[in-house]
Amino acid sequence: MEEEKQTTETSEEDLRAKRPNISRRSMCLGIGGAAALVALGGLKYVGSTPVVRPPGGQDEDRLVSACVRCQKCYEACPRGVIAPVHVEDGILQTRTPKMYFDNGWCDFCADENGGVPLCVEVCPTRALELPAGATAQSTIIGKAAIDTDTCLAYRLTGCRFCYDACPYEAIELDEINRPVVIADKCNGCGACESVCVSLKEGSISSGATKRAIVVEPQA
């Protein structure tokens, strides 16, 4: 310390000017930054819409506490059914993973990785983690629900894409060929949603492209 002091004293003015103050400005920035991060923590208490999580991410508290938003699960998913959560679904969970069944569904990487989901395997922080021995049947990603207002089958068109797609026989046709979900058999794989042809018409407003059968998160 003494030596340092001496140097400062003996230096010429320009040399002293070159050494910026660590002092007040830096301190304010540091405290301000730290305070901002603590304030950000308060986002925990801002409401958010429940979303359908990838396999092993059903414990919402654990997922939010562990996910570093590295997007590794997104990249690993061979079916492209994982997507980052939108900011409008809740600031806290922005960029955490959710299921996106527009173009495919989750079969727990049966072909690609022998039934162990790659998203769970690559997750570095155990935000996605399945209990030992978990299978596609025993893991409930969500439950499919039919919107009877928009479902074509409920207009008696005879549409049965979802019924044909379901790998778990969790959809039955009623007496006039309308699909009905059997919740006990459904694990939320999204096969039905990915093939549903009745998109609501509209622009990019909320829910405009939601299909008539969608997987909903388990409360």
Binding site: T7, K18, R19, S26, G30, V68, P84, H86, V122, T125
Partner: protein
């Protein structure tokens, strides 16, 4: 993009008699962009090396140290992969200090977008800063007695006597980030980390055009990134907690640091005032006169600006530096002169 300046730079570098390496400075400039392209390819092909938050093939990867600490503090669990990553990163930092900041991190490259918002090549503030760094005394003039005294101090002395601060504003942000994660139970900083936001922006744009995933995030995420690193200047130097973590561990780093060959350096060999290396350093390190620099050597990002700026080509980055005390004759001559000077005072 700015091919003109690039050409000028490489021409300047090649024009130097010394062993300047224009290839390296080009590589340093393009490497973050290469990383971004590789990550984007990974997103597109659903197979790749992940983002910098967790870089590696499949489940063999290195997790961001701040993310690893944050997630473990938040979930109050020890995660094996996070611990292993922390150990690997610690070793890398011990060997290479803040090299990540200068070579891999996309944030400085993104921050260069600032130029797009400024008239002319550089912003006014950049120019002011450069002017402030330039000493009023003419380079090339003989050294004053005081300066000789400064030079005579060995690097080790200088480093140990200077820069006693462990904690700067970035350190406070680091403490805030980890504290907030522990209190609120989620890795808070990951939400706003500009490195994460950079890759998130790439992903969001790819998804918007690729699968028509339209979301407000497409505006919010890049806006936050711009606010942090483009409009808020000096993110890296005053706020980045990841940089703080690297500086902290980097205090024990003694390898691949800028090392001056006293036989070539104008100040030691010819007794002329120069200081070009100190002025070139964006981190505020002065390799020639460490005690005059605003930062210690542990802040070095190996950007090689000092080596490129040195008119004598005296600066290299050897794996292990030779001790300067047993330096060549000219340095000793200066040292002795300085000693007699001190005695006479």
């Amino acid at each position: 993009m700015n091919r003109d300046t690039e050409e000028k730079k490489s021409a300047r570098a090649q024009g130097k008699a010394s062993g300047a390496k224009p290839g390296l400075s080009t590589l340093r400039r393009v490497l973050p962009w290469i990383v971004m392209v590789v990550v984007a390819l990974g997103f597109g092909l659903h197979k790749g090396f992940g983002t910098l938050s967790d870089f590696g093939w499949m489940d063999v990867s290195v997790l961001c140290p701040l993310g690893a600490l944050g997630t473990m503090l938040a979930s109050k669990l020890l995660v094996p992969r996070a611990l292993i990553s922390l150990a690997i990163v610690a070793v890398l930092i011990l060997l290479l200090g803040r090299t990540f900041c200068g070579w891999v991190c996309p944030v400085p490259s993104v921050a260069k977008l600032r130029r797009a918002f400024a008239k002319g090549g550089r912003t006014k503030k950049d120019a002011e800063e450069a002017a402030a760094r330039t000493p009023k005394l003419a380079p090339g003039a003989p050294l004053t007695d005081e300066e000789k005294a400064l030079l005579a101090q060995s690097c080790h002395e200088a480093h140990s006597s200077h820069g006693t601060r462990v904690f700067d504003s970035r350190g406070a942000v680091l403490a805030g980030a980890l504290g907030s994660a522990a209190i609120f139970g989620f890795p808070v900083f990951c939400l706003v980390c500009p490195i994460g936001l950079t890759f998130a922006t790439i992903l969001l744009v790819m998804r918007a055009f690729g699968v028509g995933d339209v979301t407000v995030s497409l505006i919010v995420v890049p806006a936050l990134l711009l606010a942090e690193v483009v409009f808020f200047r000096k993110w890296c130097h005053t706020l980045c907690p990841l940089g703080a973590l690297m500086s902290l561990l980097g205090r024990a780093n003694r390898t691949v640091l800028p090392t001056i060959d006293n036989e070539k350096c104008l100040e030691t060999s010819k007794g002329r005032r120069c200081g070009a290396c100190g002025r070139a350093c964006d981190e505020g390190i002065d390799p020639r006169h460490p005690q005059l620099g605003a930062a210690r050597a542990n802040e070095c990002t190996r950007c090689r600006a000092c080596a490129d700026a040195c008119p004598a080509g005296a600066i290299t980055f050897p794996l292990i530096a030779r001790t300067q005390d047993e330096g060549p004759a000219p340095a000793i001559a200066v040292k002795e002169e300085a000693k007699t000077l001190q005695h006479s005072q």
